[in-house]
Symmetry: C2
Subunit: 147 residues, 2 copies
Amino acid sequence: MAYSIGEVSEMLSISISTLRYYDKVGLLPLVNRTEGNIRVFNQTDIECLKMIECLKTTGMQLKDIKLFFEWCEEGDSTIEKRYNLFIEQKEKTEQQIELLKNALNRINYKCEYYRMAKEKGSIPDLGLREELSMKYLSNENIRSKRV
Amino acid sequence: MAYSIGEVSEMLSISISTLRYYDKVGLLPLVNRTEGNIRVFNQTDIECLKMIECLKTTGMQLKDIKLFFEWCEEGDSTIEKRYNLFIEQKEKTEQQIELLKNALNRINYKCEYYRMAKEKGSIPDLGLREELSMKYLSNENIRSKRV
DNA sequence: ATACAATATAAACCTAACTTTAGGTCAAGA
DNA sequence: TCTTGACCTAAAGTTAGGTTTATATTGTAT
């Protein structure tokens, strides 16, 4: 299958200018062109783009993604490097998920905090420190206030 | 408790210049100063910074974090806004965790792929498309290759 | 008293990852 | 043929979130 840049943009929700930018910086070295110089994307290019999206999600920089693709083209001598890259990225991603889960806990706490405040129509007057900290809802504080 | 900017930087692993930058853009409106104009951080400032770190982790921009702090100071009239903010951020964060988990799946796949390649000393010659896609390891392909 | 480490400011600089702009080319339907 | 929408490039501009630099002041140990 062959796709125009506009079709790829639609399919993967990546803007046309971003696709051209990726091509320019060398992230899509395999993209074919028509005689009239129009880009023609094939399934391999699509897979490249999906991999770029995947690695970008985990925080990898474009220059490092490019390096990985270069390693792929260098052949078997870079297998170890590629293995290490993914092991490292796996650990980073797991850490990132943990960070996000912790943040989500705090955010859930605030959701509950403000849900209660909405019900009562006011924030308990304990000052900004208490409002920002996680102390308020979690201990006997809340029970005594509820009376 | 009172802390110098250097102590806070150590405690929270935020660089001194970043702390000054946060202060400059109005994220720390409550920081006291000595007579000699030296910043003195208290527990409330620390809680602010922890909240900034939390929200930043979930991808919120500094200008929106600032807005939230301004709402806090405006009082009860902004409770609903603050509630909605956190509900929205909760959803965004949950989506982000899902994205990361999907990416982690792909990455785990590549770890296994390259672990096997390391063992054999070579990448099966199926071309870049197969190497990048998730097809290779997951189906009977691998069983037939293993024989 | 003096030296030196920590702090202060303002302003310039930096980086990644795009996006926009300007000026052109290509391709398909009427 | 003409028009129109999709495509092309190069180069400049943008944005967020800092960092660096230059210069000055503060505060503490000897």
